[in-house]
Symmetry: C2
Subunit: 350 residues, 2 copies
């Protein structure tokens, strides 16, 4: 499989991306990489990383990059030669089988939606974030691709999450929960109440509403929500984890006994950091678009980018987009093609 | 001030509530308490806690209690003699100045909304949760009273949060942020985009959108959101905090060095637990109703209930409901009385 890697995306790009590519070439012998970016600008980093020539590595020039503060639509409007847009075009032209980018999430959504379109039957894409819980991991979908959703969108997200969980985490019959504010089906907002009805009728393992409380106890294997709630949850959880780390450090530095204790137990703190460091988990697949695209956290490390390349390779091999299209039809929740085309156009114009 | 305390509300009621009342009578010499509950049923606990007779303590019998699994509206329909409804009636009759309950949140909202009505100019009540952040505390409002909101509701919540922050946390010019998915004003969902416009025009210290990332760094003193998002954030954050505690314990128990380290640093872990234990913070005021009502976390300890009684006393002394009504008018966002009456009726009928 050939993976187009956005050299310019991420807070520590291009350095960590190039470092990741060097590692991926060693660790993933079946993967070919197309490194996409402004070649003159990354030359220094290529040399510094001593990225060796490889028959499995090629370079594609992209003049621009969509910077983090820019509107998402710049990827398809004013910056048509940006690295993420070039990545999407490589997939469209059949020159690459998947994309990895740790850059502007909205730009990646816009570029892939417009260039690659949606898989038949799906109206909107969703970001699927993999999160740690006591006893396992769970998928939060949509973690931020769509701020306003309809019930049918959420039903389609449920299918995407189900397939991700099944084929890539190996969960046989994933428990699918709907993020809400109370366990009973009468609780929730207008969106979740309607979505509850649709999910109940689908041939999936729908376990009902799950509350915020249930998330990190592995209350469900797949948690379905609109992208506003999902993004807010994801980022709030990162924020409190960071704060807890800060408070712990502060408390441990208060006197000499605690400091000694902290030294003795230092590996425990490292382990804790690894468990809760979901930035390391290799990025969130953007599901529902007609192609494979893995979006890394802005603060992705090289390890995270390597992991994202591995996931992109796996998704491409298993033809996840086709699986999604088939399963959405099977569940009776496919969106008619004309609606889907219109919706895509409208969103791209925003 | 006389505070009606719901003896039956909370996972550990009536025991912890009675324990809390005993402490409050000692610690808060100016507070009178009306303990409301099923008197025969709580007799044993009263004796066990050796709750002494006091001229500042009286008892009010309430036959029933709205259990956690029941619909909220039972408080105003099938269980009109429930402890929370009796509390609301005591305030309505001028026999109490405020309510404290760690019971069913929805039932407390329904009982107070219907019995006490809203303050003039406010359409819906909001739960204001006080949360810890690096360097201080912030208020999340609405933390769960309303699952579906209009922009004007959020603007009114902003005012409630502002007054809470100003008069009870002593923040002079509280920074008010709108919970959203991106810092720029163009980002968010339909609700936040409209709300942004209203907040921008109000004579408050509106600092724009705040993301989940900003919350626990004290990105704002007051974070405004709809009750669905707020509740989901609140509970997800509790859930991850619990999971982090679990992982830390697990990591510390792995070998003898770590165990020794954990013993040396044990007070640090206790301190950490105290900081992040917002269950202890004494409950969330239900703002916007025409009366004072503090709702405790279901898992409230006696300490938390004492703290809630202290807050209720403070709110009643400062006549917070009147302050809210005045400030909403001042900000030009008062809801017309007829809308407010209709909305209240409708909600109660749900």
């Amino acid at each position: 499989m050939k993976i187009a890697v956005d050299a310019m995306g991420g807070d520590f790009a291009p350095a960590v991306v190039i470092e990741a590519v060097a590692t991926a070439l060693k660790e993933l012998p079946d993967v070919e990489i197309l490194l996409v970016g402004n070649l003159p600008k990354i030359q220094y980093h290529l040399e510094k990383a001593r990225l060796k020539e490889s028959p499995r590595l090629s370079f594609v020039h992209a003049e621009e990059v969509v910077e983090m503060g820019e509107p998402s639509t710049n990827a398809v409007r004013s910056k048509k030669h940006s690295s993420i847009t070039v990545c999407a075009e490589l997939v469209k032209a059949g020159k690459a089988d998947g994309i990895v980018s740790a850059g502007h999430t909205g730009a990646a959504v816009a570029a892939t939606k417009v260039r690659l379109r949606m898989v038949p039957g799906v109206e909107r894409p969703a970001l699927a974030a993999l999160l740690p819980a006591i006893g396992g991991k769970f998928i939060l979908v949509d973690a931020g691709a769509n701020t306003d959703c309809e019930p049918l969108n959420l039903a389609q997200f449920a299918v995407m999450g189900e397939l991700y969980s099944k084929f890539f985490l190996g969960i046989e019959n994933p428990r699918i929960g709907l993020l809400s504010v109370g366990g009973e089906d009468v609780k929730g907002n207008a969106l979740t109440k309607e979505t509850f009805k649709i999910l109940s009728k689908m041939p999936i393992n729908f376990i009902g509403n799950v509350e915020g409380h249930d998330l990190f106890n592995l209350g469900a294997d797949v948690v379905v929500c609109d992208g506003f709630s999902g993004n807010v949850v994801l980022k709030s959880v990162e924020s409190i984890s960071h704060a807890i780390g800060y408070w712990l450090k502060e408390a441990l530095m208060k006197n000499v006994f605690r400091k000694a204790g902290a030294v003795l137990a230092q590996n425990a703190f490292k382990e804790l950091k690894n468990v809760s460091n979901y930035e390391e988990y290799g990025g969130a697949p953007l599901l529902g678009i007609n192609g494979v695209c893995i979006i890394g956290h802005g603060a992705s490390t090289a390890k995270a980018v390597v992991s994202a390349i591995r996931v992109a390779d796996g998704f491409a091999r298993n033809a996840l987009p086709e699986l999604i299209s088939k399963r959405v039809a099977e569940c009776g929740i496919a969106t008619a093609a004309h609606i889907h085309e219109t919706a895509t156009e409208t969103s791209a114009e925003k």
